[in-house]
């Protein structure tokens, strides 16, 4: 009795099925994987964008803070260590700064939620160096309150906390900014 070829044929058919199944599985995996990759890339792109928004909002706010510094004439407000203006010699400064407490930072006026950020950027300014002595002020000696010469440069450090479309993207930028002619506590 000869062997019926049916069994191999059945086997063959089974292999096809299995192979098909495997291929299907592979395709599925491939599809799922590629979908996952796309999702990931999309998510990454989203995060990148968010971070860019945060970065740019922080940059814009730096400009705003610097423009604010250009208008100031007296530094006494920085001695109070409140409302985002700090004395750079204040040792507990960074223990005090609380980005969740609106009384301890300044909010950007020009960048708001209508510009696509979830929260308006926040910033603080530290008064880190009193007006420098000028050659004239070192030469012409003065008493208390003397006004013979002045106009040196005072330095401030601005720290901006910008956020993107969600509050999860946070960018901190920091500049040191020089302002001339502010009236500091230094008479020399």
């Amino acid at each position: 009795m000869s062997m019926m070829p049916t069994a191999p044929a059945r086997q063959q058919q089974g292999a096809v099925l299995i192979i098909s199944m495997i291929i299907l599985l592979l395709l599925t995996i491939l599809g799922v994987t590629s979908m996952q990759g796309t999702n990931l890339e999309e998510r990454m792109a989203g995060n990148m964008r968010d971070r860019h928004v945060a970065f740019e909002s922080a940059e814009a706010t730096l400009a705003e803070a610097e423009a604010f510094l250009d208008t100031i004439a007296v530094t006494s407000a920085f001695r109070d260590n409140t409302a985002g203006l700090y004395d750079g010699t204040y040792l507990d400064l960074w223990k005090t700064v609380d980005w969740a407490d609106a009384t301890k930072y300044r909010s950007a006026a020009n960048i708001t939620t209508s510009h696509g950020v979830s929260t308006a950027p926040k910033y603080i300014i530290e008064y880190i160096s009193e007006p420098s002595s000028t050659s004239e002020s070192k030469t012409n000696l003065d008493n208390y309150g003397g006004t013979s010469a002045g106009g040196g440069v005072a330095l401030f450090r601005i720290t901006v906390r910008g956020t993107g479309g969600s509050d999860n993207s946070v960018v901190f930028l920091q500049t040191v900014y020089g302002v001339s002619g502010v009236t500091g506590s230094n008479n020399l």
């Binding site: 970065f55 730096l62 610097e66 208008t71 100031i72 004439a73 007296v74 006494s76 407000a77 001695r79 109070d80 009193e130 420098s132 002595s133 000028t134 050659s135 004239e136 070192k138 030469t139 012409n140 000696l141 008493n143 208390y144 309150g145 006004t147 013979s148 010469a149 002045g150 106009g151 040196g152 440069v153 330095l155 720290t159 946070v170 960018v171 901190f172 930028l173 920091q174 500049t175 040191v176 900014y177 020089g178 302002v179 001339s180 002619g181 502010v182 009236t183 500091g184 506590s185 230094n186 008479n187 020399l188």
Partner: protein, 1264 residues
């Protein structure tokens, strides 16, 4: 300084005559400068004449001001008939005769409104004619308003008793005459009156006289606007409140400070029964009637007024109640002011309202013609403002003062005019003088009140014989309503300005015309009462005054105050502003000091400065007013100390009678120094100087010693003229931790700074009440005051009722942190060195390291370090600039000695009169004398009397500039100039004083080396030479402190002089380094066009291409700017005598200085007071960068230039002060801030923000 090069003899050279001319006990030595005893910055001014023309018509007796006819209350409602009118809210006895009957008899006895409660009890149905409204302040505007605090009149009654809170059980009907009796406001009374309601007339019981019973006089009604029509209707809801203890306390507006309110109307305060009945009683006596309310307003406005000549007359021209215009003294209880207010208080309301002819008669009084309101004969102006005995019938001063004297009439009335015609025709119709009438002034009616006002406005009242020049300065109203072509319309003829106040009356008009030219439809005054009130408005329009409608006591007083403050202004400032550059409790402050020439008082105020440098208009504190809370009539809680120089160890002592030494007591016992035998009043004088007021002439009862009156409010602080406030907070210096400063850890400056970082923040200032004051910078409380022993003999003059102003502590305090042994071992101290300034020679030093130690007189006494007087060195004269406190190169005990450096001062007593530099070591006088070797060093210039133009004038070194050439913190060189124009370099770089020496650098003369000498008083400033060794020394010439200086027109200059420091070089060895022909001349050009309202000048920008002392004159040694600037487009000198006498400031590569243009002593001159200049200090030229931000847009561009064009020649380098004199400037940020003599502040942005480190220095992103 004309004496230096003048031809005519100096008026004060003539020995004995001089003493007669000068109102000063110190006779000037021959040749001495006549140092002014008053601020040159503000001319004393000519006091304006103000005639008050007050209504004394019978209607002023009314106790009602309503919207009904004549302000009365009528029954039945709506009637306007006089027979249906009520006039009073409260009965008063004696209504059968005329005055002094408290209610006017001729009105009949039945004029008190019957009460609603009485009528209701008699069966008269509601609303009983709305009689309740008589006792409601919403309807009867002068009735008691429980939200208002009623205060007594100012002044005294006919018996000389001061007005006080009245007795509630016997509240006088007429406070001026208590003998007229009073009413017990706490008991019910009954009174007779009429009921004029139809219902009453129909009721036999109520027809004719009725007796209202159960009337509790302390009462008022509250009103509820039931129908919400904002009208107090008879049937609106209302509640009677009787002021009885059972009904109180009640809440009142916060303006009731008598119940502890905070002055804010929006808040409430709880008033007790005692508060309320007292307030009601004060209303009853002082405000119950129109007449009383008007008297209250007059007394409150006149009480503080001093800078005016005020007269009074009534519209019925009652001969017993009128007084000519006289100058006002301080106190309302004495002198002319008492005489004036007595006339006002004794006025009796009785008569009609003949406004027109009496306004005319006041005009005639100012015109000095017959028929005037005082019935005086015609005379020409003859009165000398300085000599009251020359007064005649004419209220106008003789020329020159009279030529700019202003005349005002303030007319107050409660009704429409009647009486006969003034016969002036229709003067405003446009035909008389179309520069002033026609246009909106014209109407078609003749002989109106407005015509009278115009008649005395548009004509020159003093032309023809005995005429006066037409120099009367125009007011803003004069200029705005001017129809002529003179431009600018700055002065005009003698005239009368008319202000009118309608009290409780309204016309048909509600607004003035909009401008002078557009025709306006004025109602015909003969049409009716309201149209006659419109005529009051028209009269004020024609008379360039103000029409004010006052319906209640508050607005009547404020209306009068508005008018008076518009007319009178007499305070000024010659002290510059000071900023606290450190943190106060909440931000930065600017401190400003003022003086009032009329009362010889001053003030120091603090205003907030915003973070952007804007100065708040509100005053944080006023030290003069804070001082009031420390003083009372017979006691004070001030801490005042002085110095006992006669003690074995001279030391500070309390300024108390028992602590003074015998000499000091004797000086206070001498009324006017040296001239009168002593009296025993020294202790009283001391109490007066401490601020106690009971011995002032105006204080009642008559326990006084006739001492000079001081204003009740803010009168205890003397005038502050030249002293500039100095803020002392946290030790402010840096770079003091390295040698030659102390370098041991405990002695480091930074350790000192740490210890005193939070010390009490203070402001120090000298005042001409004889004291240096220390005020708390946060609240203005006086922490302590120091009375220098130098000048102690002059203090008694302050109590003299005929006191003529003089200076006491006028020098700006100099403060620095010094390391020295001042008694408690060597340590860092904060030391203040002050002086008397123009008051005389001498300096004093205080240790102000820790102000909390100055809290009691006993402790503060230890803080006086020393005094340095003319007795210690006869070369000492009168200083006008503060010392420079510096570390020297001299060592003692391993540490450098600190010194106060100053020029010797003017009118020194030495025989040679040499100009000398004083270097006074701060530790030198701590032992009580100045006799030890090295206590102080003098360096003589060798130029004295012999070298002066007249060989008798003592020379003096002016302000000194200490220079640190090696930038180690110690003084190496001092520059200063003298009266003879010499500029000196004092070399203090050697470590032994014997090697210190002096070189003459330059002699300032106008134009050439042989020109007129230019005196130097201002402090020089130096800037490093840009290319060569040494410095450019910048000096300004001119002086501004003697009486001659205000009329001196010699040309002054600003110099930039190269001192190359090579003492051995060829030209310095000739002792005259700089010659005029080696100076590059720069010149200003005054511009015709203004920029953003500023009158400006430009400057040349000639370059200095080569520097050198020898060779061709192409080599230059500096620059000069002569202040002989011609008028725009013209020739000659526009402002001769302009001088750069204010502080030089170097900032951002620019040099700033303010100049002063002297104003002649004739008080009539108005004109520019100076310029603020800003230019390049290297060549004295304009430079190439724009200096000032004239249009205040924050940018420095061509729109800030002349013609809006680019180019050096268009850069604005000078801005004029159009009316007032500038003081020293300060910088707040990049804004240059200048206080001027009219108390205003000019702030201008400057282009001083150029520096490499400006802008963004670094950037980084923080990784999280």
């Amino acid at each position: 300084m004309s004496f230096l090069h003048m031809q005519r003899p100096h008026k004060l050279f003539s020995g004995t005559t001089a003493a007669l001319l000068v109102i000063s006990s110190t006779q000037l030595a021959a040749g001495n400068l006549d140092i002014a005893n008053n601020a040159l910055e503000i001319s004393t001014g000519v006091e304006p004449n103000i005639m008050l023309l007050a209504d004394d018509s019978g209607s002023m007796d009314l106790g009602l001001v309503t919207t009904e006819a004549r302000g009365e209350l009528h029954l039945p409602e709506g009637s306007s008939s006089t027979s249906n009118a009520y006039k009073y809210t409260h009965p008063a006895p004696g209504a059968t005769g005329d005055y002094p009957a408290p209610n006017r008899g001729s009105f009949g006895r039945d004029n008190v409104v019957p009460t609603q409660e009485f009528l209701a009890a008699e069966g008269i149905a509601a609303p009983q004619g709305g009689v309740w409204r008589a006792w409601n302040h919403n309807y009867n505007k002068i009735y008691y308003n429980p939200d208002v605090e009623y205060t007594p009149w100012e002044g005294q009654d006919v018996n000389g008793a001061k007005y006080t809170d009245v007795n509630v059980n016997n509240a006088p009907y007429n406070p001026y005459r208590p003998s007229d009796g009073g009413l017990d406001l706490t008991a019910s009374i009954s009174y007779d009156t009429d009921c004029k309601l139809t219902d009453c007339l129909n009721d036999d019981d109520l027809d004719g006289t009725i007796t209202v019973t159960g009337f509790y006089p302390a009462r008022y009604y509250t009103w509820t606007d039931t129908d919400a029509d904002s009208v107090v209707d008879a049937d609106d809801a209302h509640t009677l409140i009787e002021i009885r203890s059972s009904n109180f306390p009640k809440n009142r507006a916060g303006t009731r400070t008598d119940c502890g309110g905070n002055g804010d109307a929006a808040s409430t305060t709880s008033c007790s029964y005692a508060n309320e009945i007292q307030n009601f009683a004060n209303w009853f006596s002082y405000f119950r009637k129109r007449d009383l309310t008007a008297k209250s307003a007059f007394s409150k406005v006149i009480e503080p007024t001093t800078s005016a000549r005020i007269g009074f007359a009534t519209i019925n021209n009652n001969a017993t109640n009128r007084i000519k215009a006289e100058s006002m003294n301080v106190s309302i209880n004495s002198g002319n002011k008492l005489a004036l207010i007595d006339e006002i208080f004794s006025t009796i309301p009785n008569g009609s309202t003949p406004l027109r002819q009496n306004l005319r008669d006041v005009g005639r009084y100012f015109e000095c013609v017959t028929g005037n309101i005082f019935g005086l004969s015609a005379e020409s102006p003859a009165e000398d403002p300085e000599d009251p005995s020359t007064a005649n019938n004419c209220p106008i001063f003789k020329a020159p003062a009279g030529s700019c004297q202003q005349n005002y009439t303030v007319l107050m009335t409660d009704g429409d005019w009647n009486g006969s015609s003034p016969s002036v025709n229709n003067t405003d119709g446009g035909t008389s003088n179309s520069d002033f009438d026609g246009g909106s002034f014209a109407d078609t009616s003749s002989d109106t009140l407005a015509d009278v006002a115009m008649h005395y406005y548009e004509r020159d009242l003093h032309s023809g014989t005995g005429s006066l020049d037409n120099n009367v300065p125009t007011t803003a109203r004069d200029r705005n309503l001017y129809r002529g072509s003179t431009d600018p319309f700055e002065s005009m003829h003698q005239h009368m300005a008319t202000y009118t106040i309608g009290f409780g009356v309204n016309g048909t008009l509600t607004a003035n015309p909009t401008d002078a030219n557009t025709a306006f439809s004025w109602p015909d005054p003969t049409d009716g009462a309201a149209e006659k009130i419109d005529d009051l408005r028209h009269a004020a329009w024609n008379g360039r005054g103000q029409f004010l409608s006052a319906s209640d006591p508050g607005t009547l007083t404020s209306s009068l105050e508005d008018i008076f403050s518009e007319i009178t202004a007499g305070t000024g400032a010659a002290s510059s502003v000071a900023f606290n550059t450190q943190n106060l409790e909440s931000g930065a402050l600017v401190f400003r000091a003022f003086f009032d020439t009329n009362t010889n008082t001053g003030s120091l105020i603090a205003q907030d400065v915003s973070i952007t440098g804007q100065i708040s208009s509100s005053v944080r504190w006023n030290a003069a007013e804070e001082l009031d809370s420390k003083t009372s009539a017979s006691s004070d809680s001030r801490e005042i100390i002085t110095y006992d120089d006669l003690a074995t160890t001279p030391a500070g002592i309390p300024f108390q009678w028992s602590d003074l030494n015998a000499t000091q007591q004797g000086q206070l016992n001498t009324p006017v120094a040296g001239s009168t035998p002593p009296d025993p009043l020294g202790e009283e004088r001391l109490e007066y100087l401490r601020g106690q007021s009971e011995k002032e002439a105006g204080k009642k009862p008559a326990t006084n010693e006739n001492f000079r009156d001081r204003p009740l409010v803010g009168g205890k602080l003397g005038d502050i003229v030249h002293s500039t406030p100095v803020f002392v907070g946290e030790p402010p210096f840096s770079n003091r931790d390295q040698a030659p400063f102390p370098i041991t850890t405990a002695d480091l400056y930074s350790a000192f700074e740490d210890s005193y970082r939070n010390r009490r923040e203070m402001v120090y200032i000298g005042a001409n009440d004889g004291m240096l004051h220390g005020f708390d910078a946060n609240d203005g409380e006086e922490v302590f005051a120091y009375v220098p022993n130098i000048g102690f003999d002059q203090l008694s003059k302050l109590t003299d009722p005929n006191y003529n102003h003089r200076y006491f502590v006028d020098l700006s305090p100099a403060v620095n942190d010094v390391y020295a042994n001042l008694g408690g071992g060597a340590k860092w101290n904060t030391v203040l060195v002050g002086g008397r300034g123009a008051g005389g020679p001498g300096f004093f030093a205080l240790d102000i390291t820790d102000p909390t130690e100055l809290d009691t007189e006993a402790e503060a006494a230890d803080k006086v370090l020393w005094e340095f007087t003319q007795a210690d060195d006869s070369n000492l004269g009168t200083p006008i600039t503060e010392p420079s406190i510096v570390m020297t190169n001299i060592s003692s005990g391993g540490q450098r000695r600190w010194a106060a450096i100053f020029g010797n001062g003017y009118n020194s007593a030495s025989t040679d009169g040499n100009a000398e530099l004083f270097i006074v070591f701060l530790d030198g006088g701590v032992d009580g004398d100045w006799t030890d070797t090295g206590d102080y060093i003098k360096i003589s210039t060798g130029n004295g009397k012999a070298q002066s133009a007249d060989t008798t004038t003592p020379n003096s070194l002016g302000g000194v500039r200490s220079i640190d050439t090696d930038q180690d913190g110690s003084v190496d060189v001092v520059y200063a100039g003298d009266l003879q124009g010499n500029v000196y370099r004092f070399d203090l770089s050697a470590t032994t004083t014997s090697s210190w020496n002096m070189q003459t650098l330059f002699t300032a003369k106008y134009g050439s080396d042989s020109g007129p000498v230019q005196p130097i008083t201002n402090r020089p400033i130096v800037v490093k030479h840009p290319t060569e060794a040494g410095y450019l020394v910048i000096v300004g010439t001119g002086s501004y402190f003697t009486t001659d200086d205000i009329s001196d027109t010699s040309i002054q200059s600003i110099y930039g002089l190269w001192d190359d420091f090579s003492a051995a070089s060829d030209s310095i060895s000739t002792n005259k380094v700089v010659s005029h022909d080696r100076l590059v001349e720069q010149s200003f050009t005054n511009q015709a066009t203004t920029i953003s309202g500023f009158t400006v000048r430009t400057l040349t920008n000639n370059t200095i291409s080569q520097w050198g002392h020898t060779g061709g004159t192409v080599k230059k040694e500096g620059w000069v700017i002569n202040l002989d600037v011609p008028p725009a487009g013209g020739t000659g000198v526009e402002f001769p005598g302009e001088r750069a006498v204010r502080n030089f400031i170097l900032r951002g590569g620019l040099l700033f200085v303010n100049t002063v243009i002297p104003k002649s002593s004739s008080a009539c001159t108005v004109g520019p007071g100076g310029f603020e200049l800003g230019f390049n200090p290297i060549n004295g030229g304009s430079g190439s960068d724009i200096v000032f931000d004239l249009n205040n847009d924050g940018n420095f561009n061509e729109s800030d230039n002349v013609s809006g064009a680019d180019g050096d020649a268009n850069i604005v380098t000078g801005i004029r002060f159009d009316e007032s004199t500038p003081t020293d400037s300060s910088f707040i940020g990049n804004r240059k801030v200048t206080q001027t003599s009219d108390k205003s502040i000019r702030s201008v942005g400057t282009n001083t923000g150029n520096d490499n480190a400006v802008g963004r220095n670094s950037w980084r992103e923080l990784d999280l």
